[in-house]
């Protein structure tokens, strides 16, 4: 039973991270029908942003209550800047190009970001701080301490933190999209950009907002990832990105609630499958494969996802 609850926790935490990243995918796709292949790298950049702040700012030994917010700021700045630059210079010029172009650009961007982090993160003084960041870089474990006893099981502080932070972010986003003026404008643009433009909505600004929000959430996820798993490297974005995309599609691409649902679902499936699948097909080696299997199944059998609607092809 302990194993079950332990793995349940792990699944939920993993799901929370996937959900945060998935939101970025879903928002951008909902508005401009672009699979932002490089979004996983935005997540990775956020993690490294937080790590950089910690290292450059020599925050070793500073109290968590000061260090963490600073790291968060660092993460968000890194992710958001990258995302905005990408949107402005890589994606926007290709707004009207055939669909192949932005997809390939996104692949190129993903590779560029991975490599930039690997080769070029500098430190004042001219030395490469990350020494080839393909090797996992240790991430400060700022949230530790005893697990909190919940009676039937106990939950570690870091797990609790992640779940709470993620839920707060998701709720905030949903409120924003449903209640605020900009949020409603985003929904309008997602449904029909041309009409939205006619209604006076600055579509470009909305698109930028979508990228911005997605990046911010991914940054939070990056920071959480580092705190939880203890290390980061330049490749975490690729796999996490694909899985988060799976989650977004699973829930229904373009649907914010769907992204959340899909994220948690995928996290649980992945954790439970590796623990409980019988024989040789359980275990960590097949971990990633399960996510891909889910991806394939969803895209083939129910591409509109759990919460999405079928889009009719009007001739």
């Amino acid at each position: 039973m302990d194993l079950f609850f332990g793995q349940l926790q792990n699944g939920v935490v993993l799901g929370a991270l996937y959900a945060l990243i998935a939101l970025g995918y879903t928002m951008v796709y909902g508005i401009i029908q672009l699979i932002n292949f490089a979004h996983g790298e935005i997540f990775m950049v956020g993690a490294f942003g937080a790590l950089s702040v910690f290292t450059w700012g020599s925050l070793q030994g500073t109290t968590t209550w000061v260090a963490l917010p600073l790291m968060l700021v660092g993460a968000v700045i890194a992710s958001v800047t990258t995302a905005l630059l990408a949107e402005r210079f890589a994606y926007r010029p290709l707004r009207n190009a055939p669909r192949l172009a932005p997809l390939i650009t996104a692949i190129g961007l993903s590779i560029v970001l991975q490599e930039l982090v690997r080769t070029s993160l500098p430190i004042p003084g001219g030395q490469q701080i990350f020494d080839g960041a393909t090797r996992a870089q240790p991430f400060p474990q700022l949230i530790g301490g005893e697990s909190i006893d919940l009676g039937v099981t106990s939950i570690s502080r870091i797990n609790l933190t992640i779940i709470v932070v993620a839920l707060v972010c998701m709720v905030a986003l949903i409120q924003f999209v449903n209640r605020s003026r900009t949020g409603r404008a985003m929904q309008a643009t997602a449904q029909d950009p041309d009409t939205a433009r006619l209604m006076g909505i600055n579509v470009n600004r909305i698109i930028v907002t979508a990228f911005l929000l997605g990046a911010a959430l991914a940054a939070v996820a990056g920071l959480m990832h580092g705190l939880r798993y203890g290390n980061v490297d330049n490749r975490i974005g690729f796999i996490a990105g694909l899985k988060a995309f799976t989650a977004a599609v699973l829930g229904g691409i373009g649907n914010i609630g769907g992204a959340v649902l899909g994220g948690f679902f995928l996290g649980l499936v992945e954790t439970m499958a590796t623990t409980y699948m019988p024989g040789d097909f359980g275990g960590g080696a097949w971990k990633d494969a399960w996510a891909f299997v889910v991806l394939v199944l969803v895209l083939v059998l129910r591409p509109q996802g759990l919460l999405g609607e079928k889009v009719a092809d009007r001739a």
């Binding site: 029908q33 699979i35 890589a90 010029p93 290709l94 009207n96 190009a97 055939p98 669909r99 192949l100 172009a101 932005p102 997809l103 390939i104 650009t105 692949i107 190129g108 961007l109 993903s110 590779i111 560029v112 991975q114 490599e115 930039l116 080769t119 690729f238 694909l242 995309f245 599609v249 040789d280 097909f281 275990g283 080696a285 097949w286 990633d288 494969a289 891909f292 299997v293 991806l295 394939v296 895209l299 083939v300 591409p303 092809d313 001739a315």
Partner: protein, 579 residues
């Protein structure tokens, strides 16, 4: 100047205003200076590769700028002299403006590059002799002066020459290409190679601006069959230029495998329009089939059938996987197809990585270590692991693989071309253009898409079998997503839907990293950046099919036409103050 002009046009206007009619003089002066500088030393030390220290003994980059500037000089002067003028016009159908500008830019980049490299390598500008600086100045003048020359002015179709002459011209162009490639391969130091690469590149670019490339293309399409045969003959000459060394034969053998696979993928992407990001898995299926049936001690299968059987099995296995992966994937829509195939590709990699008997699955593929120690191919008594001796030439044993791959390449290109020019090929294009309309024409779009997918898969399977023997080992890491991305890039950069373009893209992508080892660290970074830039500025690739170029630039063309209508000026015509 109007606000709608591009930045380059505004710069040209500024130059024209200052330099005016003296542009020609400035250009000639510049070219002359460059030529002279080539005969002067550029440095006094031989620490810089290729001896650039002797008077009247140009070498390496000096030779290159000498060649470029002399050609520019001849074109510039020849134009103004009556008799020569007609000859120049013959040789340079599009007018000298664009050609000279290309030559100028090439000289400039080479001279500046060399001088800067000298400063860095030798530690200080004092190490650069006046010759080097003169080259830079001269090239700069040439560039400025040439900007006021009239623009390209395409002449109507040229008269036909006798067939034999036309074929000879095509053959000569191919031999020139071969020479350039062989020379380029032979240069080992990064400075020499880079200078040569820029030289060769701009030579080709200048020829393109001159209209020569277009002309040769026309000739080759007029004598298509002969051209293709000639291309293979010239390619087969390559091993004979290596003097028995194996190193570059190995490289080129790998390039050929890559090219074969790229053409196979081109059927899927370029013809049927299916973006497959997991194509490398099919190469992997073929490779593992070949490896398992090769008799290697690490193979988990004891059977070692003759080579033709292995080939057939490899293609069959890959085709089977093509059906299994294709049927569900093709049911998905557009972008999703790319992601699904990516997913399948990764599932393949993870599976072969885990089927190693060490607790995560039965031992079929020997897990992460893969299957090393694959013996050389052997069939009909021919052992591909032994050196050859043909017509008295010693050929390293990789030449065997090279030749067999040339045959396979010929086969794959044949399949591509014939599939393209057929009822099925037309149906594929129709599906790509407007799937709904295609279905309304009676085309079973699903079945046709799957057939493209499976055909592409089986061709990759064939290549995989040979690759297993060429690389002598097969491992899961050889089949990661990045490899698929490289293949897609080769097609996109080279030009989708055309054989020449894809071959060019594949060669460049596979060959350059070999030679530019000094940027090995940044290899992937440059690759990613190149993808972004190409999709931004030239999405139809280097050698676009006419169709694709139109598809991508539709907006631009419409915009430009609209602009010109508003401005009231004709669509064609020169700029820069010339009538």
């Amino acid at each position: 100047m109007t606000p709608e002009m591009t930045r380059v046009e505004r710069l040209d206007d500024m130059i024209a205003a200052r330099v005016g009619g003296r542009g020609w003089l400035v250009a000639v002066l510049g070219a002359a200076l460059v030529a002279i500088s080539a005969l002067l030393p550029w440095t006094y030390t031989d620490a810089y590769p290729e001896n650039l220290t002797v008077y009247f003994y140009p070498a390496g980059p000096q030779l290159y700028v000498l060649a470029l500037s002399v050609v520019a000089l001849v074109l510039l002067v020849g134009e103004r002299v009556d008799v020569l003028g007609r000859l120049v016009r013959l040789a340079v159908p599009h007018g000298t403006g664009g050609t000279v500008r290309a030559l100028a830019l090439g000289s400039f980049l080479i001279s500046v590059g060399v001088v800067l490299r000298m400063i860095v390598l030798l530690g200080g500008s004092v190490n650069v002799d006046p010759g080097g600086y003169l080259a830079v100045v001269g090239a700069l003048l040439l560039m400025i002066g040439s900007r006021v020359l009239p623009s390209d002015d395409p002449l109507p179709l040229r008269a036909k020459l006798p067939a034999a002459v036309e074929i000879a011209i095509v053959g000569v162009s191919m031999l020139v290409m071969l020479v350039l490639v062989v020379r380029g391969l032979a240069l080992d130091e990064q400075e020499s190679f880079s200078a040569f690469a820029v030289f060769a590149g701009f030579l080709v670019f200048a020829a393109a601006r001159a209209g020569l490339i277009g002309w040769v293309s026309q000739l080759s399409s007029r004598h298509y069959g002969v051209t293709v045969a000639a291309a293979f003959v010239v390619a087969a000459l390559f091993p004979f230029t290596q003097g028995g060394a194996n190193r570059y034969l190995n490289v080129m053998a790998n390039v050929l495998i890559f090219a074969i696979v790229a053409i196979g993928l081109n059927i899927v992407i370029g013809l049927a329009g299916l973006l497959d990001l997991g194509y490398i898995a099919f190469l992997g299926v073929g490779a593992y089939t070949g490896a398992l049936l090769s008799g290697s001690q690490f193979s988990t299968v004891d059977w070692v059938p003759p080579f033709p059987v292995v080939l057939a099995l490899g293609a069959l296995a890959a085709a089977l996987f093509g059906v299994i992966i294709g049927i569900p994937s093709i049911r998905t829509r557009g972008d999703y197809l790319a992601i699904v195939t990516l997913g399948f590709g990764e599932i393949f990699r993870i599976t072969v990585n885990n089927l190693g008997g060490t607790g995560s699955g039965p031992d079929i593929t020997n897990g992460p270590n893969g299957i090393p120690d694959i013996p050389a191919l052997e069939f009909f008594g021919w052992n591909l692991g032994e050196d050859l001796n043909i017509f008295g030439f010693e050929l390293g044993f990789f030449a065997n693989y090279y030749f067999i791959e040339l045959v396979l390449l010929a086969f794959v290109v044949l399949v591509f071309v014939r599939a393209n020019n057929s009822r099925i090929g037309r149906a594929w294009v129709a599906i790509r253009e407007d799937e709904t309309a295609a279905a309304a024409m009676g085309i079973n779009t699903f079945r046709l898409k799957v057939s493209a997918f499976v055909l592409g898969a089986s061709l990759a399977g064939l290549a995989g079998v040979i690759k297993a023997h060429l690389s002598t080992s097969v491992e899961p890491t050889q089949f990661q997503f990045l490899e698929s991305a490289f293949l897609v890039a080769a097609i996109v950069l080279g030009g989708m839907g055309t054989v020449t373009g894809v071959l060019l893209g594949a060669t460049i992508l596979r060959l350059l990293p070999e030679k530019l080892r000094f940027i090995d660290e940044y290899r992937l970074l440059i690759f990613g950046a190149a993808l972004i830039l190409v999709m931004r500025f030239r999405p139809e690739g280097l050698v676009p099919s006419a169709r694709r170029a139109r598809e991508f630039h539709e907006e631009e063309i419409t915009e430009r036409l609209a602009r010109e209508q508003v401005a009231g000026s004709p669509v064609t015509g020169s700029r820069g103050g010339q009538p």
